[in-house]
């Protein structure tokens, strides 16, 4: 079955492969140069195949997808109309946010230059969750730089060629990054039993907001204790009888405290939610809730600056047999429809490879 020469060939193949893997894992410069050269050699073949395949693909899509495209187009027009309305609201919110920043003498956290790029290829493998983009070292791209789209974090650069780069998506199991969960104290109080204990997360932002509410109180009704305003400008005894349709103006002062919990976020594969593991597993679950915002935590060794949105918590699952919880995060970025993205030209202060 196996002749001597066949055995030799197979042994040689296995040993050479092992040697190459070892060299590449240790970051051999010659291999990186070889990859770069191979990318250049492969480029014309890609272009040629694309030139042949694209017209065929377009013709096929034109035949099979015209109705779907029409429906999608109509839906997108509706969506655009709604988005225009939302945009106005967002603009006013941004203005308010800027004013708040000025008031609090805070500086915007996210002040790094970005390079716009277009996704030009998908991973050919079933086991790598990557995309190829059309900018590389010629535009200042370096390994490790974070990549975002308009909605949130997309991944990080793992390989750089002169004219292109490979982005490892956040859903890849190899991807992990320091992340923080932002929950308002209000959100936590809504879902937990009222407790005077301070959460484990350090409240880093305390914003005070004043809300004026108008309430119509039915006659002879006393407000339950939980709905009692903290302070009222118009003092109304709860047990007193109020004539029908009397408008009672109350001014409540509520404290909006943002609680941050830091952990490590990792991918689990395409079409699967990300998993967040907290540094302090015992107390963190009480301070985060489904729907809480997750963004990058930053830090000296982190490969992304603080404040890039990642997504929202989609589920908190209790691990059977242990006291720990599995926190699933749904990414904000549309990873299956990536087209234009931005590479953040961020190099960590301590540029060793960290999460």
């Amino acid at each position: 079955m196996f002749t001597l020469s066949r055995r030799r060939i197979i042994i040689a193949v296995v040993l050479t492969a092992m040697l190459l893997i070892t060299l590449d894992k240790n970051g051999n410069g010659a291999i990186e140069r070889g990859r770069s050269l191979f990318a250049r050699v492969l480029q014309p073949f890609d272009t040629a195949v694309e030139a042949v395949a694209l017209p065929v693909e377009r013709a096929w899509n034109g035949i099979t997808q015209v109705d779907d495209l029409q429906r999608e187009n109509d839906a997108l027009r509706d969506q655009l109309a709604r988005a225009k309305g939302a945009e106005l609201e967002a603009e006013s919110a941004i203005l308010a946010y800027r004013e708040l920043l000025k008031l609090n003498l805070l500086t915007a956290k996210f002040q790094y230059k970005v390079v716009a790029a277009q996704v030009v290829g998908d991973s050919p493998s079933n086991f790598q969750n990557t995309v190829e983009i059309n900018v590389g070292s010629n535009r200042g791209i370096q390994v490790g730089m974070p990549v975002t789209d308009g909605a949130g974090l997309v991944g990080r650069i793992t390989r750089v060629f002169p004219e292109s780069s490979v982005v490892l998506l956040i859903t890849d199991p190899e991807y992990s990054i320091n992340a923080q969960v932002l929950s308002t104290q209000e959100q936590i109080d809504e879902e937990t039993a009222p407790s005077s204990t301070a959460p484990s997360g350090v409240p880093v932002e305390n914003l005070t907001s004043t809300t004026t509410t108008s309430t119509t109180v039915p006659p002879s009704t006393s407000l339950p204790p939980i709905l009692q305003p903290v302070s009222t400008s118009t003092s109304t005894p709860a047990s007193s009888s109020v004539p029908p349709t009397t408008l009672v103006e109350t001014t409540t002062t509520t404290e909006l405290r943002v609680v941050r919990e830091t952990g490590t976020l990792a991918g689990q594969g395409a079409d699967r939610p990300l998993v967040l593991r907290f540094i302090d597993t015992t107390s963190s679950v009480t301070t985060v809730r489904v729907g809480s915002i997750v963004d990058t935590a930053g830090g000296n060794t982190s490969l992304a600056p603080q404040g890039i949105p990642i997504g929202r918590i989609s589920a908190i699952v209790e691990q059977p047999g242990t006291s720990s919880y599995l926190i699933e995060v749904r990414p904000n970025a549309s990873l299956d429809r990536l087209n234009f993205i931005a590479v953040v030209l961020y190099v960590p202060a301590n540029s060793s490879q960290g999460g």
């Binding site: 197979i10 492969a17 890609d46 050919p124």
Partner: protein
């Protein structure tokens, strides 16, 4: 002999680059049941089925290295896995020296499944995050079926690429 080797090397390079481009441009963009059909792997197992285990190993190793060089895997990882796929498909020659198309296709499908299944395991062994998950239960049948279908088309290309001459049989006349 040396000229023949150079010719085979040149053919492997050209066919490999073209197959890789087809993989990246066509099959990577159009998954079937969310699984990307592995065209390069299908070519490897076709070469193995056409030329035997040793030629399959060499074709798998070289095309796998090209796959590694264009992607994100450590250089040699896919070479190792595709080499294994080529060897497995080449086993068809232990049954018959000139296999029928369907027999070659069956061994090609088995080789493709072995090669594809080896990738996550090799990734785990080499310290990458391997995807030894239940998704393999979908990936492997699709990759195997695609190799089965593509094999009859790719065997002539694999034979030409590896410089294998088709055996001609003559009936013994007494």
């Amino acid at each position: 002999m040396r000229a023949g080797m150079s010719l085979v090397a040149a053919r492997v390079l050209i066919v490999g680059l073209t197959a890789l481009a087809i993989q990246r441009v066509v099959f990577a963009q159009h998954p079937i049941f969310d699984v990307k059909v592995q065209f390069v792997l299908a070519l490897v197992v076709a070469a193995g089925a056409a030329g035997g285990a040793d030629r399959g190993a060499v074709a798998g190793f070289v095309l796998g290295l090209m796959y590694d060089a264009s992607g994100n895997t450590p250089l040699g990882l896919m070479g190792l896995c595709y080499g294994l796929a080529g060897i497995t498909a080449g086993y068809v020659h232990t049954i018959t020296p000139d296999p029928q198309w369907w027999l070659a296709s069956i061994f090609a499908a088995v080789g493709a499944v072995v090669g594809e299944a080896a990738i996550p395991f090799a990734e785990v062994i080499t310290g990458e995050s391997g995807w030894v998950t239940r998704e393999l239960m979908v990936v492997l049948p699709v990759v195997g079926a695609a190799a089965f279908v593509l094999c009859p088309l790719l065997v002539p290309i694999g034979r030409w690429m590896m410089g294998v001459k088709r055996k001609k049989w003559k009936a013994m006349i007494e």
